[in-house]
Assembly symmetry: C2
């Protein structure tokens, strides 16, 4: 791996690694960070040097743009280590492309592939001991960009910081979840920012999710904000429905994130001969299928959990349980196993999705 | 002014004031900050000490919540100095209440009136030399709250920082602006966060505003995201339409901010015998009124400019100019003069809106 020559690049190593103090078996998701981070500043219309340096706090003005006007976008991806201690990324250029789409919509600058992908690889090489092998182990990667210009004028920032931080993760089996279909609140507007990974989308979801949790449901299935009938996402994941033996998921739109997991699952399902329909699906179809006994599975799809099974949903104060499906018959499990197998290099990557650092 | 006894409170004065170096006549809005700021941290379910200390940078973790999940809300208000060097605030408790409404919707903690209003007054007492008297001079006040918890788990922060920073402002006559009616993009969803002052709302507006500006319009008139026909806000202001001699403004809703300027203008207009209709107004009504020569004025209302006159609007690639209205006949000017007169203590405040520090 080498950075393109035109990108200036510096590495300052941490004096001492923290790795010895980490209890990798019991690490809480997103709470511990590796020894290094990548930082790059945008100023006067251009990105500067890529700095890889010890992870740690930074100094910011209280007037800086992101605190007031919310220019902040991020990505979420994972690195895995195979049996030969080689570190692998899963479709990282998809995240890079999506990052730039988010940037565009949030009036932030694009970042080049070299700084994003090659910069990440350089960072991972330095912190590769933090990627642990064995099933369920991964290193969560969080690239993000924030508006850093000082001053409280409501307009786009002229200065930005791009940063990548890394956090060791363990996939634990969190159990199936109960969800509530959104009847009043929503996460995205037509012509809004729902298809981007901007920070504001998440802050807006917390309150309705809290209300759902107080009512006994772990997540919300988000619906379109106009009719509250179209089933669009589940929590911070894309969502799939299995009716009969057909897998249905909404088409991506301005309101729905174009998930890397979602499109990978669609490709895997199709390669296994599972019929996939990418189409808008409304609550009534779900209720009808449930009444006929045809609604077999619902699951969320996203980088953090890969596939998250749902055991039932609430709608208009009524709870609808899904049938028990044996693991061997569950699309959720079949697809999860296949996807994680590819990601973790246990099975052949016929899709050419993985790349080493 | 004194703080309630149960709020712990510390003041650390700046060693030297920066005030001598400020060119108050030419200061750019929101770019210069006073000597002090107010900072208060929320932790373990409670707000701590109110610290008033020198304005300056702070140290934050790159993993902190606001950079990733966007929990950030703010307020905007102004202080004025009268001829007797007394400093006045305009309806500050309305901002405090709205701040807490924003907090609720963004799953952030409420803050008490003592920390917000009395804290602000204590800060202003210290920096009162920064409030300059004379027409057009004011001190812009920016209270804000951000999620400061470290760690990239998509959920509400458990720690927060409340902060108030102050910036000297001069109202300059920026001229009338041309606006574009939003036909595709939108700032707010039904069931979303449009009625709050959360940072994410602003970041989402920048790109559509940039497109409007590239087409020759300074601002966007936002419409509902479902039909794109209801006229809801103008830029970051509420919006008023004068048809014949009636003033029309949309009712506040989940999509529209309950502006302090808006409601003050409604009260002033009514006290002057101007007919005000608070009702949803659609594009077609505007086009019809324009065709009949009855559309006389459009203006935005917000703390930053008080009243911002609009000279014409674009819709479906056609530009509609508004008639020239003499200042003496313009509701915009009459209302602006009355409101600024009250705010700056030049005319009697019969509404009891102003309070001293
Ligand atoms: C709102 C939302 N939808 C869907 C996803 C799934 O996207 P991906 O599969 O790329 O992680 C995410 C991120 O995980 C998300 O934040
Ligand atoms: C979106 C939006 N609408 C309207 C307003 C006007 O509110 P206020 O009059 O309280 O300043 C503001 C803030 O200035 C705003 O940000």
């Amino acid at each position: 791996m080498s950075l393109e020559k035109n990108v200036d690049f510096s590495i300052q190593k941490a004096e001492k690694s923290k790795i010895g103090s980490i209890d990798f078996e019991n690490v809480k998701f997103g709470s511990v960070f590796t020894d290094h981070m990548l930082v790059c500043h945008y100023k006067d219309g251009a990105w500067g040097q890529v700095e890889i340096k010890p992870y740690g706090p930074m100094s910011f003005e209280p007037s800086m743009n992101v605190f007031h006007y919310g220019q902040a976008i991020f990505e979420g991806m994972k690195a895995y280590k195979d049996e030969n201690d080689k570190v692998w990324l899963f479709r990282p250029r998809e995240n890079w492309k999506r990052f730039n789409k988010s940037a565009e919509r949030l009036a932030m600058p694009h970042i080049d592939e070299t700084r994003f992908v090659d910069g990440l690889k350089a960072l991972l090489q330095l912190d590769q001991d933090w990627v642990r092998k064995g099933e369920g182990n991964s290193l969560y990667i969080r690239p993000f960009m924030i508006g850093t210009h000082e001053g409280v004028v409501a307009g786009p920032s002229t200065e930005f910081m791009f940063c990548i931080i890394l956090s060791p993760a363990r996939t634990y089996y969190s159990g199936k979840v109960k969800v509530q279909i959104a009847e009043h609140y929503s996460r995205a507007a037509n012509g809004g920012v729902g298809s981007t990974k901007c920070s504001g989308n998440y802050a807006g979801q917390f309150y309705p999710t809290k209300l759902a949790q107080e009512a006994g449901y772990q997540q919300v299935i988000w619906t379109d904000d106009t009719t509250h009938t179209k089933l669009e996402e589940a929590g911070t994941m894309n969502v799939f429905f299995r009716i009969g033996d057909t897998l249905i998921t909404a088409p991506t739109s301005e309101r729905i994130l174009d998930g890397v997991t979602r499109k990978s699952l669609i490709a895997i399902a199709e390669s296994k001969g599972i019929k996939v329909e990418v189409k808008s699906i409304v609550v009534q179809e779900l209720l009808d299928a449930h009444a006929k006994g045809e609604l077999k599975e619902i699951f969320g799809a996203g980088t953090a959990v890969t596939v998250g099974q749902i055991e039932g949903f609430a709608y208009q104060d009524k709870y609808y349980a899904l049938p028990e499906v044996a693991d061997a018959d569950a699309y959720a499990i079949q697809l999860k196993t296949a996807l994680q197998g590819i990601q973790q290099k246990r099975i052949e990557d016929t899709f050419d999705w993985t790349e080493t650092i």
